[in-house]
Point group: C2
Chain length 376, copies 2
Amino acid sequence: MKKKYLMTPGPTPVLNEALTAMAEPIIHHRHPEFQGILEEVREGLKEMFQTKEEVLLLASSGTGAMEGSVVNTLKKGDRVVVVRGGKFGERWTEICEAYGIEVDNIDVPWGQAVDPADVKKKLEKPAQAVMVQFTETSTGVTHPVKELAKLTQGTETLLFVDGITGVGVTSIPFDEWGIDVLVTGSQKALMLPPGLAFACLSEKAWKAAENSDLPRFYFDFKKEHKKIKENSTNYTPAITLIIGMREVLRKCREVGFDTIYKENAAMARATRAAATALGLELFAPDSPSDALTAIKAPAGVDGQQVVKVMRDEMGIAIAGGQAEAKGKIFRIAHMGFISKWDLLSTIGALEKTLAKLGHSFTPGAGTSALIAELDI
Amino acid sequence: MKKKYLMTPGPTPVLNEALTAMAEPIIHHRHPEFQGILEEVREGLKEMFQTKEEVLLLASSGTGAMEGSVVNTLKKGDRVVVVRGGKFGERWTEICEAYGIEVDNIDVPWGQAVDPADVKKKLEKPAQAVMVQFTETSTGVTHPVKELAKLTQGTETLLFVDGITGVGVTSIPFDEWGIDVLVTGSQKALMLPPGLAFACLSEKAWKAAENSDLPRFYFDFKKEHKKIKENSTNYTPAITLIIGMREVLRKCREVGFDTIYKENAAMARATRAAATALGLELFAPDSPSDALTAIKAPAGVDGQQVVKVMRDEMGIAIAGGQAEAKGKIFRIAHMGFISKWDLLSTIGALEKTLAKLGHSFTPGAGTSALIAELDI
């Protein structure tokens, strides 16, 4: 009878209304009923992405949308600048290298955001694209996308933003900032199971797509763009996830995107306050994300052990560190269908866990700081 | 209060146990609980594919697995022979052409199966692969895969089989027949929503993968092969669909695959008998599929109209013809979570529909023939 809580930065808990809608008998994707759903989802996505452009829907994880962005807009031998400050920054590099794109990496220390001046310097040499994460999920850092867009707007260079942990968490005005490619996935702020990915391209990116010479088939954006305008897709879509997405968008519009963004930011601030009150250090103190908080394991405590005790003894799933951060940090999500009360439970369990693992702190300091900061 | 029935060849109705399992709160894909599920699914898939090889799981529609098969085993400039006898045969050609593979098409008239002698003739010139559908869903034809495997086994040529409408419908012994690549998708015989694809490669195909030089990232089979053996995946998997797949495999093993194959074959025979008794012609009389039956619209009746009246007035979704068969045929599925009673309802509704559209027949002839043939 141990009740379980999911506080990981992907997947996040699925919205109740989406769970029940997805458990309805399936319908056919070429029938009018589904076309109506797709039309409603298209409109909602434009609001979420803050754009006049179409948002493409792909049956894949977010990585598929990242690859699709590369193979539909670039040419073999193009030079791109990649902000590499974590596991997902590395992914842009790996995708580009798989297709013969010349990658100029900016290696940002894990836990830090890129300095726009470093990107500006790299752009003294012509580059077809700058690629970055909105939030680097492996470190909890938010990169200064708005500032980077100022560097690429009005130039030939495209700005690619992996918003897998970003869209729906924080306001990312695609048109206003001048982003060229923004992708996301279903299993984070969008409160759905994984398996549905989204990609939005600017007019500039669509123009670049005319000259792209990289091979592609399943992730052919021009073909999908044509179809989505007819409320259809080229290949069998992830029907149930799109039906769930309608529920998510209805809920987001009912609550209001601005309210959601404010609540995420407040939960993030409160989590940081709680960690600090427990004598813990933040892994990304200078440019932290509103989606998740990465916290350094205290001296003498293995971060993986924190995750294990939280999961196995407390019933609360949080995430550990990946690659070079493994064992050094743990990560708590506060986006999507996660409430401040879930966070309070998590901080309470974290106190129990840290006490058990030998870290010294004032009992109740974490939960008190959270409550104070949230003004619960 | 109109009750709806889904009798289309993809998606098909979702298994009840899978629907409820997928409506449970989501779990994390890197946790032991999910790894245990993946392990059970891996074992069940080996039984379903009748192989000792691993079956890869991809978060995509079946087309993604088709593309992955091509880009992981072929080289630029390779020559392949494609059996093109419908919409899905065309897909192999389109994928290969997107990657600079030289395609030698065998254009089989829609509604007919390929003659193995024609493939044999094409193989007088060296070819890296022969590509075919097990069932060509657009025409309801089953191609002679066993015979084709005899042509490629022991040679350098790989046999690619699109089993999207095949695996789980009919016995396809991968190892015994000597198939080299077999792919399928979740939304047909596997009784799940779309969004999960499967690919199985023979030792010969894995050897070819060593020399493949085509670019790929999301559909990198060697990387996935390594991960699946650790009960993991490279990118976020379609968690809920894999959880549903466990239920499907449990049900299939409980019922027995052989029983399922026999029932599908019996339902297919009965559907053909019913159509004939209604004075209708079969579109694929010589090599019909056990997954679906394609029936010609009677003279003076538009096939699309049959589909529309069935759906809008009877509440039963069947499929029309695609591309060159549009308006000329309609298609009824009998695979997955579809029972003989659903078929009886469908034939009953078809009689009402045909009568309304002006086709003459003996009322009750279709349902009587179905009942007699099924020995209900």
